[in-house]
């Protein structure tokens, strides 16, 4: 009965998408399992992520704070994965600054992510063996309104003489304002977002940029955990599958064969 309903009412025009989603997921899951058996995947160097250490080093040397923001996103919808990826990077950053005793300021715009951020930072200080260095005043909700948040961050960057500014997560129209204000305040800057319209602004105003999907790979890359790295390899496998579809589809389209094009209409 239920099966009948599903078969008949399988939402129209999404068969191709569902098929590809299943294939991609299966490929990624297989690679994750393979890595558990000790197959350590190789990943090329990602300069912008490696630069995070450089930024922390500089803030430490100068004895000035490091500012981290996962952006204006929350846990709902389009911005959710970017916020999550940003928080994942924050965990690694917090562990390093805990070791070096560099002051850390984290700002954000969605109140519901505050508990998670506090939790992540606290645990990172604990993991680094320095729980006493955790400063709750560094975790700052600024405002729910986009440009009020921007105004607050810009103020903090200047007043607290931030030495390193890490913007990793979801950003919209405020990206250029925060990034350029950070530059004027003399901070070394790393920008990362998967909001395509905002990447150019990070490219012009930041020292290092994680372009689009590198944001999602950053947490896994920093963890150096083979299982997580396998997920990045999984991204590459899916990328190759997609490229193969594209090339084959275009070649067939050239000769007027619409086999693959028809599949994507299903």
């Amino acid at each position: 009965m239920l099966g009948e309903v599903i078969l008949l009412e399988f939402a129209k025009g999404v068969v191709h998408s569902f098929t590809l989603l299943v294939i991609s997921s299966v490929v990624m899951i297989i690679l994750l399992y393979a890595s558990r058996k000790g197959k350590v995947p190789k990943i090329r160097k990602l300069a912008a992520i490696d630069a995070i250490d450089e930024a922390i080093g500089r803030a430490t040397e100068m004895g000035r704070p490091l500012h981290f923001t996962p952006g204006i996103g929350d846990f709902y919808g389009y911005d959710a994965p970017m916020t999550i990826a940003g928080i994942s990077v924050l965990g690694h950053v917090a562990r390093r600054v805990a070791q070096y005793n560099t002051p850390l300021i984290v700002t954000f715009a969605a109140p519901e992510i505050e508990p998670v951020i506090t939790d992540v930072v606290k645990q990172a200080y604990l993991a680094a063996g320095r729980p006493e260095r955790f400063n709750p005043d560094g975790i700052r909700f600024i405002s729910t309104r986009q440009f009020a948040y921007t105004a607050g961050v810009v103020g903090i960057l200047h007043r607290e003489k931030v030495a390193a500014n890490l913007m990793i997560g979801y950003f919209a129209g405020e990206s250029i304002i925060i990034a350029e204000a950070g530059f004027l305040a003399g901070a070394i800057q790393i920008g990362a977002t998967a909001n395509t319209y905002q990447i150019p602004f990070f490219v012009v105003a930041c020292d290092h940029v994680l372009v689009s999907e590198e944001l999602y790979a950053a947490g896994a890359y920093l963890s150096k955990d083979p299982v997580q790295l396998a997920a990045i390899t999984g991204q590459d496998w899916v990328r190759l599958i997609v490229a193969a579809f594209l090339v084959a589809g275009c070649v067939l389209a050239t000769f007027g064969i619409s086999l693959i094009a028809d599949f994507f209409k299903m």
């Binding site: 999550i84 729910t144 440009f147 009020a148």
Partner: protein, 235 residues
């Protein structure tokens, strides 16, 4: 009469706040700081009121009408406030996990289609069209641009040989994309400045313009004398 005065006051207030915020462009200062904090308080307070209204309209009203199911989100979201408890801190994770589950579930399913498969579909173009050299070239740029830029992000190893060449082509396509996107947005942002300047030209806000100019000039002379060298960008 009172209505008119309120209107004039509004014009002065919004003009004044605009100029206070703009004073940041000279440097971070007490005036811009005050505007910043007025803004933070006002915007956050306003947001809280709207959130309150949302909760009231969408959960409290149905609950009062007897739809008891709405008690679930209301009560479970109170668990978020265990964030302030030292002992049962972790309880905040339950509602957060629910928010994240629904929040990412929605986007993963929909975006996989609109951002991946629909894009593949749109890129299935013929590599060669007879007697249409212009379209052929455009198609080739789009197809090799998409494939090249996808390959450019290849994480598993450094690329060599022909794939390297393809990735390089992708890199240039990405650079052109970023440049074009920057150039295209500039006009929209200038439109915003135009909007602000127009609001400053309205009487009596226009009275504030010469005042602001004098203040900036004074600050400039003051800074020069204190030999606070103006910040300089690096080449």
């Amino acid at each position: 009469m009172i209505g008119l005065d309120a209107k004039l006051l509004g014009i002065i207030l919004s003009g004044g706040l605009t100029l206070m915020a703009y004073s940041f462009l000279y440097r971070e200062n007490r005036v811009s700081r005050i505007a910043e904090h007025i803004y933070l308080g006002a915007a956050t307070g306003y947001g809280a009121v709207l959130s309150g209204k949302y909760v009231y309209d969408n959960a409290a009203v149905p609950l009062a009408k007897g739809n008891a199911l709405w008690a679930i989100p209301l009560l479970s979201s109170l668990l978020l406030y265990f964030y302030f408890s030292k002992k049962h801190f972790w309880l905040y994770r339950l509602p957060t996990a629910a928010i994240i589950g629904v929040g990412t579930g929605i986007v993963v399913a929909a975006d996989f289609r609109t951002r991946l498969t629909e894009q593949i579909k749109a890129t299935l173009l013929p590599l060669f069209i007879v007697n249409k050299p212009y379209e052929t070239i455009n198609n080739l740029i789009i197809i090799f641009g998409v494939v090249g830029a996808l390959i450019f992000f290849y994480f598993s190893k450094e690329l060599k040989g022909p794939t390297r060449g393809l990735a390089d082509f992708g890199k240039y396509i990405l650079m052109v994309t970023f440049g074009a996107s920057f150039g295209q947005t500039f006009m929209a942002r200038i439109s915003l400045i135009i909007g602000r300047v127009q609001s400053l030209y309205v009487w009596p806000a226009s009275l504030l313009l010469p005042l602001a100019a004098i203040l900036v000039a004074v600050a400039f002379v003051w800074d020069r004398r204190k030999q606070g060298k103006p910040r300089v960008s690096t080449g």
